[in-house]
Amino acid sequence: MEDLGMTAKLFETSSNLQLASIWLKRIVEGEQVDSEGKEVLTWTGKFLYEVDWSSKIPQKTSVGGGLALQATSVRPTFYSSLIRIAPKFKEAGMKTEEEILNFLRCLYQNLLTLGAPGKGHKKLKYFESKLGALLLHEISESILIQINNNGFPRTSISLKDEWEPSRNEFNTVIS
């Protein structure tokens, strides 16, 4: 079955992340957040908390099963995007994993507070907002590419590494 429902959900996720990326850039330019922006920024904050296993928030707001499931689908894309933009983190002066994880937590909090400082977190600096916007854009684009293969035909007969042993996926249980 070609699951149009699943495709639509991924479209929705990609659109929300893209819109949140646009809003992060607008906020840093001093624009007021409207109701649509408010909705999408809050959703993105909650969603990324759910996606990122390192977020470690003390009192996690409970999310619906639907969002948790969506998070499971998007999580590998999130980590891949993070690794892909690693040079940007280094350029921004983040030298350790801890610094990056702190930045991410601060980003999620800022999304939830619509860019305002709050309890336990600072307002994102200009370059941090840009970096956050870049990460959201990267995840959004990556989801879209997975849906449309960037316009290229999907190869149907090339042999693929179906068990991906290099990623531990097919180490047998009984071995």
Partner: protein, 478 residues
């Protein structure tokens, strides 16, 4: 001018060019859809409904693209490409492409199950497969709702169907157009609608309860053999690996469960004929392939075991109703042979040999009974009761008798007020086919099979006409 100064202009030029291309793309799509709509030789009105949806959507996209933020242009392009490809469903639904005498009764049957607001396109596909695509209108709405600049309400007003209607497309292999007995696989495809409904509301809650445990076992597994580590991303690299395995486990569980539930819906609606058609379809493939090697589909042997278990009652000899008499017995014997294939547990060994499939199928086997009951409860009241062959045997034997005489099995007596149901006709077709080929090794030539298919197709058409127009004609006669 140096490169830094020219950069913003180049971006603007690129945006302008991209926007124009998309507008042109939407315009071409509209014109093409209008041409397709002009072809009026469709068996039902549903292809036209989808064509109108494409025309109106592309018309509004054409005018509203100007308002879209630049960052959204790639997703608009993808959406237009996607809906352009939907035109092929319409184009292939023309009368000459389909088993037209079956299309009306099949759509009537589908609507009975899914509801009067559902619409179905039936079309052939050159690839050897059955599939259900959809739901179209829901897909369009979800995507277009994300774009605040798109006038969705205006689109709704222009459509030739109501907002709560649904459109699906059911495909069958072109080479099997006449093979109405194999088209029982549509029962499985119909099952996808109910499985999707269940998944939408229940799977997430059920999965989120078990996921932490599964994730923990996967994490232990990864930590025993950690991936190569980038010093900057030690924790992230492990999370990445665990996330991939967990997603794959969830996808394996979800897809496997979905296919198994659909198999059961097929058997629930059509009885053992659904197993026969699934077996005919699968007989050319390997029975024990890991879901990880074939897009998460469960091994065929596993599927047959589950389907056969579901209609166990039909394998018992019901002596009180002369079931397993000479007419039905060859068919039951044939199914017993399929059953024997499932005694071997090589599929289970494959599933248990890998952490992803093991976790996914442990989940499936522990939940499938409850889930199947819940999905069956989503069927309309008229279909809550399982179709059981032994309960229909007396009537079906009479239909088989008609086939023997070269008469379409649409009724048991001439001008009957009780036309045979689609399920009874198909069951009779299967029973006749297996009986003939078991008794006469020469039977099975293309002419024999062709005659059988034509009789069954004719019966489907006639019984449908009798059901729809019969009551009215009877009134006039009175």
């Amino acid at each position: 001018m140096n490169s830094i100064q020219s950069f913003p202009n180049i971006l603007k030029w690129q945006e302008h060019f991209q926007r124009n291309e998309l507008r042109k793309f939407a315009l071409f799509l509209r014109r093409l859809a209008e041409k397709v709509l002009l072809t009026e030789d469709f068996t039902t009105k549903t292809p036209q409904k989808l064509a109108r949806l494409i025309i109106e959507t592309s018309k509004l996209l054409e005018t509203s693209i100007q308002e879209a933020p630049f960052e959204f242009l790639p997703s608009i392009d993808d959406f237009i490409e996607r809906i352009a490809a939907h035109l092929r469903y319409i184009e292939r639904a023309r009368i000459t492409q389909t088993p037209w005498s079956l299309v009306h009764s099949a759509e009537y049957f589908f609507k009975q199950q899914v509801g009067p607001k559902s619409n179905f396109i039936i079309r052939p596909t050159w690839s050897y497969n059955y599939s259900l695509i959809g739901e179209f209108w829901g897909f369009y709405k979800t995507v277009l709702k994300c774009w605040s600049w798109f006038p969705l309400d205006e689109l709704k007003k222009k459509l030739p169907f109501e907002d709560n209607e649904t459109i699906y497309c059911i495909s069958f292999p072109r080479i099997e157009r006449q093979n109405c007995l194999l088209h029982v696989n549509w029962g499985h495809e119909l099952g996808h609608i109910f499985a999707a409904k269940w998944m939408e509301t229940n799977f997430a809650n059920m999965w989120t309860i078990v996921q932490p445990e599964i994730q923990k076992r996967i994490q232990d597994h990864v930590k025993k053999n950690p991936p190569p580590v980038d010093p900057l991303f030690k924790e992230v690299a492990i999370h990445d690996s665990v996330a991939r395995l967990t997603r794959k486990t969830m996808d394996t569980a979800r897809s496997g469960l979905c296919e198994l539930v659909c198999d059961i819906i097929g058997v629930h609606l059509f009885g053992p004929s659904a197993i026969a058609s699934a077996f005919e379809f699968a007989s050319r493939y390997f029975l024990d392939v890991s879901p990880l090697q074939c897009h998460y589909y469960p091994p065929w042997r596993y599927r047959f075991r589950e389907m056969l278990n579901y209609c166990e009652e039909d394998f018992e000899n019901h002596s009180d109703i002369s079931y397993h008499g000479s007419v039905i017995k060859p068919f039951i014997n044939w199914l017993h042979q399929v059953k024997e294939l499932t005694y071997q547990k090589s599929d289970i060994q494959i599933l248990e040999s890998n952490i992803i499939t093991k976790e996914a199928y442990d989940f499936i086997s522990s939940k499938s009974d409850i889930i199947i009951n819940q999905v069956i409860s989503l069927l309309p009241s008229c279909s809550q009761k399982q179709y059981k062959l032994h309960e229909r045997s007396e009537f079906i034997e009479k239909l088989v008798e008609r086939l023997r005489h070269g008469i379409p099995p649409n009724e048991t007596v001439n001008l009957s007020k009780n036309p045979a149901s689609l399920q009874d006709i198909i069951s009779a077709g299967w029973i006749f086919q297996i009986e003939r080929s078991s008794k006469d090794i020469k039977w099975g030539k293309i002419e024999d099979i062709d005659v059988l298919f034509r009789l069954v197709l004719k019966a489907c058409e006639s019984s449908h006409i009798q059901r729809i127009w019969g009551p009215e004609l009877n009134k006039k006669e009175e």
